[in-house]
């Protein structure tokens, strides 16, 4: 490439329906926090619905989050470094009902203008670019001060709130790709 041909980001292409042979092959990435990691245990259930409100059974869901103190997991500095007990990263394929569950901990706030949240990336057949959104926790007083949530029209903020499922451990968020309650997605 020459100066006349600047370095322009490579084009995105869909992950397709067969990612399970590669990056989606392992379900070990459903365990975001090992048993010794401090924090409030929770199971985060993400369900993805398409424009017909039908479950998307071939999505790849990735999450990234801070630990209970709001700190990011350190990125290993060298390829041989051990993977930390808390990676802050999870990746799962959705099942037939369009859902997947991550075993993790409740994240802390990374900054005073950031409510605790989980970053969500969605990849699937039919998405030429992946989608990025955030999962917040319903009822958290810090939501009022969150600078990203403030960018979202008030009547759509509820699409980003996970709610307790009632079993004492599971929080659920339904991602709607289209429709009246379409989830807010971000351009980062």
């Amino acid at each position: 490439m020459s100066e006349r041909d600047p370095f322009i980001a490579s084009s995105s292409q869909t992950v397709g329906p067969f990612f399970h042979v590669g990056p989606g092959a392992s379900d070990t990435c459903g365990h975001v926090a090992g048993p010794d990691v401090p924090g409030e245990r929770l199971r985060l259930r993400i369900q993805v619905l398409d424009g017909d409100a039908a479950p998307v059974n071939d999505a790849m869901v990735e999450i990234q989050q801070a630990d209970a103190s709001g700190a990011s997991a350190a990125t290993p500095a060298a390829p041989d470094d051990p993977v930390p007990a808390f990676s802050g990263f999870g990746r799962l394929p959705t099942s037939e009902d369009g859902s997947c569950c991550f075993d993790t901990i409740r994240p802390g706030a990374a900054a005073s203008d950031q409510a605790p949240h989980v970053t969500l990336c969605l990849f699937m057949r039919g998405l030429l670019r992946h989608l990025v959104t955030r999962v917040y926790f319903e009822g958290d007083p810090a939501l009022e001060h969150d600078a990203i949530l403030a960018l979202v029209p008030a009547d759509r903020r509820g699409t980003l709130l996970a709610r307790p499922a009632g079993d004492g451990v599971t929080w659920e968020l339904v991602v709607r790709l289209q429709g009246d309650r379409e989830t807010v997605f971000f351009d980062v």
């Binding site: 980001a9 084009s11 092959a25 990435c29 379409e182």
Partner: protein, 233 residues
Amino acid sequence: MIDRRALEAGSQPPLLYPPYKSTVKRAPAQPLVIVPERFAALAAPVYGYLPIGETDNDLTRQHAGEPQGERIIVAGRVVDEDGRPVRHTLVELWQCNAAGRYRHARDNHPAPVDPHFTGAGRTITDAEGRYRFVTIKPGAYPWGNHDNAWRPAHIHFSLFGPSLATRLVTQMYFPSDPLCAYDPMFQSVRDPRAQQRLVSAFDLSLTEPNWALGYRFDIVLRGRASTPFEGRV
């Protein structure tokens, strides 16, 4: 300061692209909410990598026997928008076999499964951002998007890079493939120059005599100056 969104116009596909039918019920209808860069930078933590096994970058050595097909080398560099190497970042790829069949329960294309080919690899870029895989040239295969629809031969790539904004999933194509002209995924990238950047280049210097042809596929991740104090290329 270069306007990223202006540069990307035409090089990134739209979310809704009706010729690719699956976009119609899956592309969000509402505009994306733009996050100012100072918040995008806060989007860490960043995924490091999964442990890499010895044969993870050689898809021809993952089973007891050799897979069928044309052995190839796929290599290149991963750089940011300043042309700086993205070092020690995970590169994952996956693909169908030489006959155009994925090792996947939902792939019902009546072509043979190759017991010696899984079709998945991973590696870490070196200090210069370089990566290298040995694999088999994937076949073309039919799909149900439209009448007589065929995917051009392609290899899927997934990269993380240093931030949320650098996450990339893409596909690599092969030179002079006549199917690209008919492929709505390839054509969803409207800028012909950007299309060509998704096409690997035959590279004699990567080619190993009496063994395998080499294809170069360089990848540019979004973002710049994320590590301003590290050595420049």
